[in-house]
Symmetry: D2
């Protein structure tokens, strides 16, 4: 089994976090999955991912004080393995875990994913619980000094203890039994979590042992560029940013991050720009009233254009049911999504305070792409010497039509210079 | 009540750690106290301090793997307050805590101290235990991200929660009830424990509320010089070094630390050089075979001379019963201990790679002190222009005899220059 | 000769920088000195110090572009020794250097000082000039990688070359010949000038060799607390701050710095808070129009009170002729200046965001001092438990009158608590 | 003109530094060039590069004290432009500069390069020399605080002064007149030379203005990965390492550096691993006796294999005349050099403490490459799952012969796993 076969193109799906925070229920997951099956699946969207704390009782009930209730009750089996909260996920009753829900997702022709934290539950360590397939107990593999600075649920495990691998094997075997297709593993991918390095390798081994092609996504980020090869050997996605939300400074900064990570994308290996916070989001944050994305339409086009030409995974953050027309169109542009899946050799040609230009190439269809971004606060003519695209390994422009993929309008670049009038914070994406 | 009245001269006593590690028993404490009462008390020694993990069951039983058993069982009352392990401290049965032992220590004319870690037991937080005098529970004041990097017992508390103060009040009230005279609070005094700052102030307030003059000693160290005033306002002692053991590089380095902290000593305020690892030590470390201090006799003289002229607290690390003659003499030199208690204005006059010279002044008896240290590896004539002592605020030398306090020999400095032949790593201490 | 005899109390004087920047002339120096002799000398003011670039031709002529003209012409003799610019210091003609001006200053009963940069002129190195008393040339002792980041005049010297000491000896011999009483040596006292450490010792040796008691003042600062003893062994003053100017945040921050350095003051050894930017200043900065100090009157009282109770050197930054009545009174309060010269054991008793309290003791007159500062932005009653002063080594208050030294008003502290209503950013200074 | 057209494949040549240090003469350059023309040119070697201080009189004459004589005399014209030292480069007499030597190199069918330091000569600034085409003088554009920490010749220039660009234009115009084809610009490419960023862009502009395709190589390194795009826009080569010499730890570490920079190579854009210190080197270092490279033969094979599959520029460090047979063969293996020029998509497949594996693909000839390195200290069988190469974008192995390019031996990989017995520190390089 080769982990690079698990996701030959960037994974596309939906993640519960941006709308539901820690509180998503089975009914909500089903609703979103049904919407995806009906409206998005034909365009390639397939993953339905439940984010953090599906195992936490009363999650969200003290949200004015904590995002994660400290020392709250986590649902576990006798082997220190987290199980879904029965109140929010009633189909997991009788020890069936996420299997019924995964089966339902699969019945829609979709794939099922969950979020987990690195390590073993603190409560399992303090209660000296067992580990499936081992005589060693949770308290012996948990490292009391290896904690997550922002979430109180887990202790990291001791890499030098063979039972740590046994524990990871036991939980990933359970996930495989449930039918999990995608794991977003958190607290494992950032400069200040040193011991996490060994845990990434342990988790990769555990997945390989399951025999199930479970996509492994690492969070939070920013990942370390000097570890790029290591991530590529052990995971399918790794976040190149801390949490991404709907503000322009974060989006503008993503151009710097993509510049750094360009050339590190390959089948099965995806630097990850985090979820797409468009549409309706924030339903279970703050005042618990959903809000529209803070991005303008042009900013959302910029976001989609960058993610797709860079080749980043696409994970929708919005609540899907009731999605507005603009957002739906943004996410279902067949030409743009074709670029995401078939573009190769993505390269940044220009980046400065005012603009950015990227190119990519689709060898199968022998067509080139040119994305022109206006990073300034006013409308602006962005231009680029078209020979650069070829020089950077993209396709040479030899005359002929160029189609702007968001508007469908055809144009021609003339002899030497591609140019476009681009609105503030907006983008134009050409195929030629 | 003024905390600077609690210890008008540097505290002198014995601490269980250097010999007994985490494993000391009531019987051993009594033995050591009895020796102190018989042999050391006449010279000013009075504190008997039980160091870390007196509340931990089975402490030391897995010492080949851990110094502190992770997630081991801690003895607590229903209010999250640690209690002595009954196996090692049988007199604490029946909820009497350390009171019987403290009473016995007091009956010998001595004072009683214990070590505690900053914060509240992790197990109390995970078990949602109560807090005396509050409706708030342990899990609400414990901060799951505030841990000690080297000991697994506690979580720091949240300074913004009033119940955190209530908790500290409740444990110090208990210590006062027991008759505790001295608290060595650990994991609270070093650059990398930021939140500890607030906890120092909370503990000081808790002590003030008890009405009992409990000396507060902060560990581990090195304390921050920029916080010197803060320590002086809230504590009686603060370690200026990480753990000190019996190797020459650590002793030599103490001269650098004392230089930095000179002038910061005042009644009730003592920069602390840690325990004196002379005599028999290490009984419950490593192979659990006691060993003689790794210091040469000259190095031990250097250590005592530096601690006494600098004005540091003296805490014996050795097992007391069976103490050898040399060590006993070292610790009971009345003239040297007089300097410790009456010296003022201690100043370093010289420090380089080869030698150091310190001076101090005893106004009550109008006598000056001059300590000459040989930091080099060969015998050496150390000299010092005697006018410097006066210039540095010490006593001018006007001729007349100078007594070397370790040998009792009388000499005279001549007109301008004090000089002495000092063995490698050794010291000479003159009163004039 | 003992450098601690050079300045038994904190030096008091005037420095040309805050008003004249790099441009002061002989006539201006004389004017200021004459004012000092007439109005300030009776109160203890005595040093007249010419600050940076007295050796630079055309200094200030390109002030809109540079404070220091890069690669400008420096006046030197054949031995790489800087000489006064003849245009600005005409009395130095004929190779007489600063001797005529120093003589005049001395004739007024005052003392004469100059500023120098660490090292040897770059131009001397590039021109391979000689060194008095050595066959080695300037290019051999200059270290091309040892520069001042903010001034282009000099290279540091190579400590391993004996001729570096010879060079320093030669310039300090010249300064002694001129009659210099005070050297402010710059670019030599801060964390990022590592090689400067060795140069401090070389300069101290050079001064000792002159046989003239030249006070040595180190700049810029902040000096390193861990080097406190080293400074005390080699210099008379060392700046504990970068340049100090007339803004409240800098003044408030000085309380933090004084806290850190308290207890490090002794006869001949003075942590230095920099010049006093009161009165008329800034005459040769920016638009070259003099301005009134940006400090309010209360802030100026705070500044003088802090400097005097802390025991810092006092160097007036203002232009002296035409000084206003308020400033003159501020600088000539005999009671306050008596504290400066006779106070001992200065201690900070309180410091928080809103207030600070300091105490000191005058043993000769057996009186205590209590300074109460309001660091907040509104009038405030500052209070202090009077026993603290005694506990901190100051004088106990036993009833009787307390005089506020700025107003002369008499009060009484009552039994336990000294209290005063203090205006925003202001101070009250009591003698009892 | 497009700088990416200047060097469509990695530059190959010889550099004087590793043998001649600062002292190379015209006669030696000619000798080396002649050897290259006779023996290496047919294999693609073409650049002859004179390294540091060709403008310095007496360079090397004080080598026991300095590598670079501080404040030594530099040859310049009236416009602050460095010229060759006449003693070492006699053909430059009469203001002809390097033109005669360049002409000779060109007559051999080779290309000519020189090393320069960032900035303008210090002596030009101190002497207020002119700048060609500007009224501004050297002292106005030189920044006295912008120095090279290890070489005393230059000051960086002020980017905000237009005359700084004029100066760079003037020197690159001169180099173009001379016929220079390659510039190695030093002190410009490393984390601690912040201002160098602007100077890189100025130099690129200056080269574009000359109309001559001068390859720009940046030193010293390590370059910053976050600046990769910036280097690619302005230069042709940038060092990813500090100076590389003939010791195994440096060679082993190069694998880490190549891992970091993989995917950043493109036509005209080359991460640079520094010169090849094989053969006879060190002739003008230390005792000034040439020595054989400290690398074993296997290590040299490893070096060449890594540089060629990674696609790094090849610059011979050895003295060429009298080159031994082994070294000559190492540098003239047509198959290996074909890989250097035609390999694309170089990827590291494996790296750990013991081994490394790289792959690359030659689309024109549809052949793949697999390099297997033994990084351990003992002979070792290195193996690699052959499917990885294809997965990483290389060529799939479909059976058939694989040729080891250093030995010419043919083998077959079998179905799934390429394997080879590789000597300690050695390499095997297969084409399939």
């Amino acid at each position: 089994m080769d982990k690079n076969q698990f996701a030959l193109t960037p994974p596309m799906g939906w993640n519960s976090y941006d709308y539901y925070n820690t509180e998503v229920t089975e009914a909500q997951v089903r609703e979103n999955a049904e919407f995806m099956a009906a409206h998005l699946k034909p365009f390639g969207w397939e993953y339905v991912v439940i984010d953090i704390q599906w195992y936490a009782k009363d999650a969200g009930s003290q949200s004015s004080r904590y995002q994660y209730i400290p020392f709250g009750q986590l649902v576990m089996d006798e082997y220190s393995r987290l199980l879904p909260d029965l109140v929010r996920f009633p189909s997991s009753a009788g020890g069936r875990g996420f299997k019924p829900l995964a089966d339902y997702i699969h019945s829609l022709g979709l794939k099922f994913g969950i979020h987990v934290m690195r390590g073993i539950p603190r409560q399992a360590a303090h209660s000296h619980m067992g580990i499936l397939g081992s005589n060693v107990r949770a308290d012996e593999i948990a490292d009391p000094s290896s904690i997550c600075p922002w979430n109180p649920d887990m202790y990291g495990v001791r890499p030098e203890m063979p039972a740590s691998q046994t524990y990871y094997d036991s939980i990933y075997a359970l996930y495989a039994d449930w039918g999990v297709d995608f794991i977003k593993c958190d607290d494992i991918c950032r400069e200040d979590a040193a011991s996490a390095h060994a845990e990434i390798a342990m988790i990769h081994r555990a997945i390989m042992k399951t025999g199930r092609p479970i996509v492994l996504s690492l969070s939070p980020g920013p990942a370390k560029i000097a570890e790029a090869q290591f991530y590529a050997e052990n995971a399918n996605m790794w976040r190149i940013t801390d949490d991404f939300w709907d503000t322009w400074p974060l989006l503008k900064d993503m151009f710097r991050r993509c510049e750094l990570w360009q050339g590190k994308t390959a089948p099965g290996c995806y630097p990850d720009c985090d979820m797409l916070p468009g549409g309706k989001i924030g339903g279970c944050f703050g005042e618990k009233a959903e809000r529209d994305s803070g991005f303008t339409k042009d900013e959302q086009i910029t976001m989609m254009t960058l993610w797709c030409i860079f080749g980043a995974p696409l994970m929708i953050g919005a609540k899907l049911p009731g999605m507005d027309e603009f957002t739906l169109k943004l996410l279902t542009n067949r030409d743009v999504l074709h670029l995401l899946r078939n573009g190769r050799g993505a390269r940044q040609l220009v980046r400065n305070e005012e603009e950015a230009v990227w190119t990519a190439y689709d060898a199968g269809n022998d067509c080139g792409y040119l994305a022109m971004f206006n990073l300034s606060d006013e409308e602006r003519a962005v231009s680029c010497w078209i020979g650069q695209a070829a020089a950077a390994g993209g396709k040479a422009y030899t005359g002929g039509p160029a189609v702007e993929l968001w508007t469908g309008k055809e144009t021609s670049f003339g002899s030497g210079c591609a140019a476009a009038l681009v609105p503030a914070h907006g983008a134009r994406l050409f195929r030629y």
